[in-house]
Symmetry: C2
Subunit: 231 residues, 2 copies
Amino acid sequence: MNNPLLLQRLEQALGHRFSRPDLLVQALTHRSHSALNNERLEFLGDSVLNCSVARALYDAFPDLPEGSLSRLRANLVRQETLAEIAAGLQLGDVLRLGEGELKSGGFRRPSILADALESLFGAVFLDAGFDAAQHAVRGLFDPLIARIDPKASGKDSKTQLQEVLQSRRLPLPEYRLVDVQGEAHDQHFVVDCVLSRPTLTTRGTGKSRRAAEQAAAGGACEALQQAAVRK
Amino acid sequence: MNNPLLLQRLEQALGHRFSRPDLLVQALTHRSHSALNNERLEFLGDSVLNCSVARALYDAFPDLPEGSLSRLRANLVRQETLAEIAAGLQLGDVLRLGEGELKSGGFRRPSILADALESLFGAVFLDAGFDAAQHAVRGLFDPLIARIDPKASGKDSKTQLQEVLQSRRLPLPEYRLVDVQGEAHDQHFVVDCVLSRPTLTTRGTGKSRRAAEQAAAGGACEALQQAAVRK
């Protein structure tokens, strides 16, 4: 760790040269390593990431309603996607972990990798402002955004999911009602869409059971689409 | 509506003069009025608001852990706070609503006011970039942030809430377990903290019932604090 060449390569991948290298090091420091770690940077970076991806999607899909933009974003910034990007940047090789985490393979753990990536965006934001952080985010996410099919988002999500699964000869999804909250006139449904192959569960909420199922199916469609992009 | 003087006053309050006044008008247009409404701008504005407030809190409270920053932010950007700020800006006088919403008093509805405020931040972001939007957010939120007591955030939230309520001779909170999710080794608890006076329910989640209760109590403390600030 703290190999100058690896850090330089990371800066190149982010498109940002740190004027305060201590921020770069802090972003790579897990809480198991020291008190001065990346937890606060992660809080900041998470919001920078959300805002940058929101803007990218807003510009890229002028015809999509906010619900679709919101689902697309949720899928782009979920832990699994972030961890894969982090692995691509070989963040595991430059993380600073405590003894215990090192021994138990923390450098491969998706949550630790994803948090470190968000922390890096926060560190760039502090080092050089929002536009520099947005540039770093866009460099990594634009390729994923470019592969999103906006037409697919116009279709009814349950139908769309069914079509995708059938075209791949995979089993159809199961919808499970998880929770119903609120009074009778203002109910709030929570539904899981459960796929057995690939193993995937996405959750949707809505004011009717059908709306919650659609939301859950939408999440599954986007997860499958992202998975295809990353192959 | 579209009174040039009112719009000018609004621009002054945001500290931003629009070079594209159409964005300002769109931000004030509810979906009941036209197809070109503020829903997409709200999606963008929500993320700008979250990011700007995150940065403000990060800078203002260098000693607070991310959990406290997160709770403080959730409280600052919740609908009730946004609607009060929007009412202070007299957004109700410049909203563009459809017939039905006009008749049913939509210009006073907290959700419509809060959404329009977020949309305005999104419009400034599009018009002049993140820094201009952040400036608008900070102008409105810095006074609230300045009144937050960072010492209070260091204390155990349940204790703190109890002390606040006792000092005001109000009834103690009730904690209600709402949901437990996940497998035995990776459970996720959802708890509501219910106050009878003032009537307030805040929800907390955590990996133990106690952690969820603390989170819910933290939300209640901050809600009470904000309510006090706004008086």
